[in-house]
């Protein structure tokens, strides 16, 4: 639609302003990671990356995020099924509770977990006499990841459940299938896209988690230090190149996941 006679100056100005505003806020910070890291040459970048503590940090991030994702996708699937199919008193309260973790500051989440599982915690004190300590281990990181990414997979899967036609399940039932057979052959295939995008979302978020992890892990280098924690620690020690190397890897990884989520969008859509 034409707003003015002749050339509309508002168009190039608005687009230009948008880019200019994003420069210092988004573009330049991202660019700095790559510019700085490769300034002294790729050889140095590689050397910083190959430090045993750096490699351990990356591996730990991947493993803890992986298990947190597996759990949250399975749980999200189960919760979406129950909350979509069954109506009961308190259902909406449950749905809200599941979505709560995203509203809580991650530091608060980590703190809460410490209060529960720490040596003097509500449950932790019961485990201590047996020599079991959950906090300051990889398990603690997994628990923290589960907490903060709890609603992500659920939030992607449940809408698909809600809009899925009941007649598909009814058809399967009248044909003679049990509830499990229907779920496996009919419901699950239609959820494929939501499950994959939910898993990717959860995984990416878990890898990037910092606030809760730094509290529950103890930040022990080479033992419970995830990649984001590694960056923080190395920066504090003044080892900028080391921090930068991992930062680049994490940034590239995030771009990769985001691209998959964005460009494979259609495949994820339910038909």
């Amino acid at each position: 639609m034409r707003h003015v006679r002749g050339f509309d100056i508002a168009r190039p100005i608005s687009i230009g302003m948008l880019i200019i505003m994003m420069l210092p806020l988004v573009f330049l910070p991202l660019a700095s990671i790559f510019l700085f890291g490769t300034r002294t040459g790729l050889g140095n970048f590689w050397q910083a990356l190959m430090q045993p503590e750096a490699i351990f940090a990356l591996k730990l991030s991947m493993v803890t995020s992986f298990w947190a994702t597996i759990f949250n996708v399975l749980f999200g699937l189960f919760a979406a099924y129950v909350l979509s199919r069954y109506n009961f008193w308190g259902r909406n309260a449950l749905i809200v509770t599941i979505s709560l973790p995203t509203a809580i500051p991650t530091a608060v989440a980590g703190f809460a977990l410490l209060l529960l599982w720490g040596p003097y915690g509500t449950l932790g004190r019961l485990l201590q006499p047996h020599g079991i300590q959950i906090m300051f281990t990889a398990l603690a990181i997994i628990l923290a990841n589960i907490f903060v990414t709890f609603p992500l997979a659920f939030g992607v899967i449940k809408p698909v459940f809600d809009t899925m036609s009941r007649s598909l399940e009814e058809a399967s039932a009248t044909i003679g299938a049990t509830r499990w057979q229907t779920f496996w052959h009919v419901t699950l295939p239609s959820l494929r896209g939501a499950i994959v995008s939910g898993a990717l979302l959860t995984f990416a978020r878990a890898v990037g988690e910092f606030g809760s992890t730094i509290l529950v892990s103890g930040n022990l280098a080479g033992r419970t230090q995830t990649a984001p924690l590694y960056i923080f620690a190395k920066f504090n020690e003044g080892q900028i190149e080391a921090a930068n190397a991992i930062a680049i890897v994490l940034a590239l990884f995030s771009f990769l996941i985001f691209s998959v989520l964005f460009f494979a969008r259609d495949w994820f859509d339910v038909d």
């Binding site: 036609s165 007649s167 598909l168 009814e170 058809a171 039932a173 044909i175 003679g176 052959h185 295939p189």
Partner: protein, 401 residues
Amino acid sequence: MAQVARAMQNTVDPKSEGTATMPAARVAGVSKYFGKTSVLQNISFDVAEGEALVLLGASGSGKTTILRIIAGLEQPYTGKIFLHGKDVTELPARERGVGVIFQAYALFPKMTVEKNIGYGLMIRKRKRKEIKKTVNELLSLVQLEEHRKKYPSQLSGGQQQRVAIARTLAYKPEVLLFDEPFGALDAQTRTHLRREIRSLLRKVNVPAVFITHDQEEALELGDRIAVINAGNIEQIGTPAEVYNNPATEYVATFLGAANILEGTLRDDALDVGGVRIPLSNRTGEFKEGQHLKLIFRPEDVVLSKNQEGLANHTCLSGAVVEETSFVGAFERLRLRIDQGVGTTCEPGDMSYLLTTEAPERSTAKPVLATRPKPIALSTPLRRLDRVFIGLTNFTILPASR
């Protein structure tokens, strides 16, 4: 009472003579409530082997609920369902062995046509060879062999429906239940598919229950039709029976256009707004002073400029032509009953006696008539022409309430 008796006569299944022939499906005394609202009241009917029964009714009449209760997708408040003699009322849907064709077909979107059809056998853990053989037979039965590897989204509506039917036939269902199967299709495909499905059903000899709100579809599809109104079956009969001898006013008006003239029974004659029609052979059924309705269809009307032209048909009255319109294959007329001078039916052997209490008295309601094109062309009529109305078929019912 007489009306109830007449309706009951048509709802108790005339096919079940004694216990010799067991019906393929029986619905007995089913009622259903949604909350406090009664949706179905005392529904009972049989479906015979190889029969196609149509449940015809408006939206909200409860016909879909009946189907879902037979399938096991809903539970009745009272009543029982029998399939081939077995009481399945307490069984869940998957143990009943019914085949349901849903309104939107409900084909599994991520499975090919082959896999959809083979689904029933696959979950029953049959051997791969057996599944393949049955799927091949069904594919050729519904003529979809070239589409076997396609997905439902790649098929037309008619093709999807054939897959849905094949999918249910794979596990040899007791009865097929069609939920408004032609709703989503255009008129041409609809007619074509109706005939295809009828011949398919005859071939496989599986009893079927159809749901529809389309009276033309019901007349073409069903061996018998059950007309449902607000949770009650008003009449069950063959298409000819329900169309020509409607048991209630609802059935008369639902199945096609109907002229309804109200009158009172006085001295063994029906008094319709001053026009009196003797009911010599029907007085046993109705009482003096009872309000009755005379019902006849537009195509039951014969028109003639003089009474002799009505031949053996019942002469109703004289009338004036108000409007004529040409509708292609036939002519539609609107007439006003008018007992003016010169247009009173003379008594004769076959005609009913007509006497007027007051001359120039006209009934309030117009009469709708249709005439086939050849007759309209040979004896043209225009506005304000005076004619005699004769009836080839009519029904007299007690006026309700």
